[in-house]
């Protein structure tokens, strides 16, 4: 599928695991029937031949810019690439190793792990279908296009006992920093009420860079592109090259601008450090001009408040006046009375985050599992929602509904074009 440009970020690497035996891999859910599949000898190569039972079959769906890098994030499993899939390959797909339709890839019983690097409007549907097919998933960021998609991915991860890891790893580095560990313990203790913290993230959200074209005239669909499959669950629109190949980010139909593109990177450490992996802000307010119905445009800042008082601000620095309502304010154990500090220090450290490979091996959730990734993605979606409706919204983090604004809520769970559904 069309490409995603490379995104540099420190600490992107999944570390330290060895190849995982396929026979254990298949018996993944708590002592289930142990499988033994024959992977054709020819796909394994000659020198360094790995027995079939030790081989992890891999597939890459979406082979554009970030595709190879996303597949490489699974390298500690040493997966054998059995299938590659991209909707731009109508002229070359052989349905044996190269495909245009991800459904044919997921039907393959020799594929164990799937890397997804399509544009984001496909992430949830492919991830869910892959887990329904018994595969583990490493999915490029952003996880989803709207909030209900993330909830559905998390439900599928739980229902099928599969491993999901989002393709950003900032939380792994944060979790090794002792001061961040203490902050997380402090926040998770629930003793800091109200929380005075104000985290302001300024710049780096590529707002101008990922703005779409508002006057784009339809153009002929390239013969090698399956446009219907590219559009997938989103509303059918006439083809224009700006809608594919990285610039798709500038359209609500496929992503959500620079905020969606960069937000999961920027906010993945935040949700871990501040212990917000299982909740969401309750009040969201944006400073932005009225949004366009198709194109992601400019915005100034968004303020997101959690129920405990913690405030997160995204200040684009690319439109209007910068955010001045509050000053940045960290949280510290010194904010607590003396006796409460001891309570926090006595709390056990959080479990080390598991890499994708380690999660696959142990069948325990990955560090960037679906629930955590969803909660980070919710920050971008809620911010974009406030930008799109142009008014303050209130959100229920448990039911995941917008409160008191039924029109705004309609963007939380968006209808999909047939035959696609969550």
């Amino acid at each position: 599928m069309p490409m995603k440009s490379a995104v540099g970020l420190s600490d992107r690497r999944v570390r330290g695991d060895h190849a995982y035996p396929r026979r254990r891999f298949l018996g993944a859910v708590g002592g289930a029937v142990v499988g033994f599949l024959i992977v054709p000898r020819h796909v394994l190569g000659g020198e360094g031949y790995t027995p079939p039972s030790e081989t992890v079959g891999g597939a890459l769906i979406g082979c554009g810019g970030r595709g190879e890098g996303t597949f490489q994030e699974m390298r500690d499993l040493k997966p054998v690439r059995l299938a590659s899939c991209d909707v731009r390959w109508l002229d070359r797909a052989d349905n044996r190793t190269t495909y245009t339709d991800f459904r044919r890839v997921l039907e393959r019983k020799d594929v164990d792990v799937v890397a997804i690097a399509t544009p984001p409007h496909w992430h949830a549907l492919i991830a869910i279908a892959a887990m329904e097919a018994g595969k583990d998933v490493l999915c490029e960021k952003p996880m989803t296009r709207f909030i209900a998609e993330g909830r559905a991915v998390a439900a599928a991860e739980k229902r099928y006992g599969r491993i999901f890891q989002i393709g950003t790893f900032g939380r792994f580095g944060a979790s090794r920093n002792p001061s961040h560990v203490l902050t997380r313990k402090l926040m998770r203790s629930g003793l800091l009420k109200p929380c005075p913290g104000v985290v302001i993230h300024r710049g780096g959200l590529k707002v101008k860079e990922w703005s779409g074209l508002v006057n784009a005239k339809p153009q002929p669909v390239p013969r090698q592109l399956d446009w219907d499959l590219y559009v997938g669950p989103s509303p059918m629109k006439p083809y224009h090259p700006h809608r594919v190949g990285g610039t798709h980010r500038g359209y609500w139909d496929y992503e959500g601008g620079g905020l969606a593109d960069m937000g999961q990177h920027a906010l993945d450490p935040f949700t871990w450090i501040y212990g917000k992996d299982d909740t969401a802000p309750v009040e969201i307010e944006a400073h932005a001009p009225p949004a366009h119905h198709e194109v992601c445009g400019m915005w100034g800042w968004v303020e997101l408040k959690y129920a405990d008082g913690l405030t997160l601000v995204l200040d684009s620095g690319e439109w209007g006046e910068s955010y001045e309502r509050k000053k940045p304010r960290g949280v510290s154990i010194e904010d607590l009375p003396t006796e409460a500090r001891a309570q926090v220090r006595a709390l056990p450290d959080p479990e080390p985050l598991r890499s994708f490979a380690e999660a696959v091996r142990t069948r325990k959730p990955a560090g960037g599992n679906a629930e955590a990734a969803h909660r980070t993605a919710c920050l971008m979606h809620l911010a974009n929602l406030a930008i799109r409706v142009g008014r303050k919204i209130r959100f229920d983090p448990v039911r995941e509904v917008v409160i008191g604004d039924e029109a705004a809520h309609r963007w939380v769970d968006q209808p999909m074009r047939a035959p696609w559904h969550l």
Binding site: A291, H292, H293, A418
Partner: protein, 286 residues
């Protein structure tokens, strides 16, 4: 575009332009206060003013298309009236939008745009008019999506249209009934499980699962068991969803039957994960 009202032309021209040729797009709207003023002026003109704006719309591929600003002004108005507490203006805009969406004198792309705008501000008052568009091959998807967004009264329109729907629209309606389940649709959905089109079968299974229709359990298990590839994956998923809904509705025997069947039949190692989760679910039912 050719507007019939000088006021509308003046309003549109106050909006900033974008997409300078040769430069990357940097779309930005007007300051919020300016947008509020322009929308207020539009809405104060009543239905006639909104209708005039709509009839000036041209899709980008149309020879008379000038730029995006007319449809953007319409969208700004939709955003404004979508705010809580602006019910009268919302009703005026929604009723005008749906009337024009039914206007055969407008192009299909423009009518589809209007349906998508209704997605945000439509309510039960526009539901019957949307139902009348469900047989139109070019409009049924957007009309159905808007009905799903509105929810109230949507299932009745979708169910009523399903009996006479063909081709693409039939699939759209079945998918949509999965999103807004209705017991009235159970019979038609059950019939669709035997359709020759796998997309129809998969959509029907999902819709029946969402509906929690206990009588669908056996036919769904049969369809799943007889299917292969992607269809087997998706209909099996629908069976699991039906089991979960059955538990939630207090119909544990239905859920137990589904889980037991999946446990007993998913014996191939590659479906061991289904067998295992069925076993786990059965254990929780005891």
């Amino acid at each position: 575009m050719a507007t019939s009202s000088p006021d509308l032309v003046a309003l549109i021209q106050q909006l900033p332009d974008a997409d300078t040729p040769g430069q990357a797009s940097k779309f930005t709207g007007p300051a919020p206060a300016d947008a509020e003023r322009l929308c207020r002026a539009l809405l104060e003109g009543g239905a006639e003013s909104v209708r005039g704006l709509i009839r000036s719309l041209r899709e980008p591929g149309h020879p008379e298309f000038r730029d995006f600003r007319a449809e953007y002004l319409l969208h700004c108005a939709v955003l404004q009236v979508g705010q809580p507490g602006r019910q009268a203006q919302r009703a005026l805009l929604a009723e005008t939008l749906v009337a024009e969406a039914a206007n055969a004198g407008l192009s299909k792309p423009v009518r589809r745009l209007l349906l998508r705008e209704l997605h945000m501000v439509g309510d039960e008052r526009v539901v019957p008019a949307l139902g009348a568009l469900l047989a139109d091959e070019d409009l049924c998807q957007d009309a159905a999506s808007t009905l799903v967004a509105i929810r109230t009264g949507a299932a009745e329109e979708l169910t009523a249209a399903l009996g006479r729907a063909r081709g693409k629209c039939r699939l759209v309606l079945i998918e949509s009934l999965g999103a807004v389940p209705s017991t009235e649709s159970a019979g038609a959905l059950s019939g669709a499980l035997g359709d020759g089109d796998p997309d129809i079968r998969m959509a029907a299974a999902w819709a029946l699962a969402r509906l929690g229709d206990a009588s669908a359990a056996e036919p769904m298990l049969r369809v799943a068991g007889g299917a292969s590839g992607y269809e087997r994956i998706k209909v099996t998923q629908a069976c699991l969803l039906l089991a979960e809904h059955s538990v939630a509705a207090g119909r544990k025997p239905v859920a137990a039957r589904i889980y037991q069947h999946l446990h007993d039949t998913r014996t191939d190692a590659t479906e061991g994960y289904v067998r295992e989760l069925a076993a786990q679910a059965l254990a929780t039912l005891k």
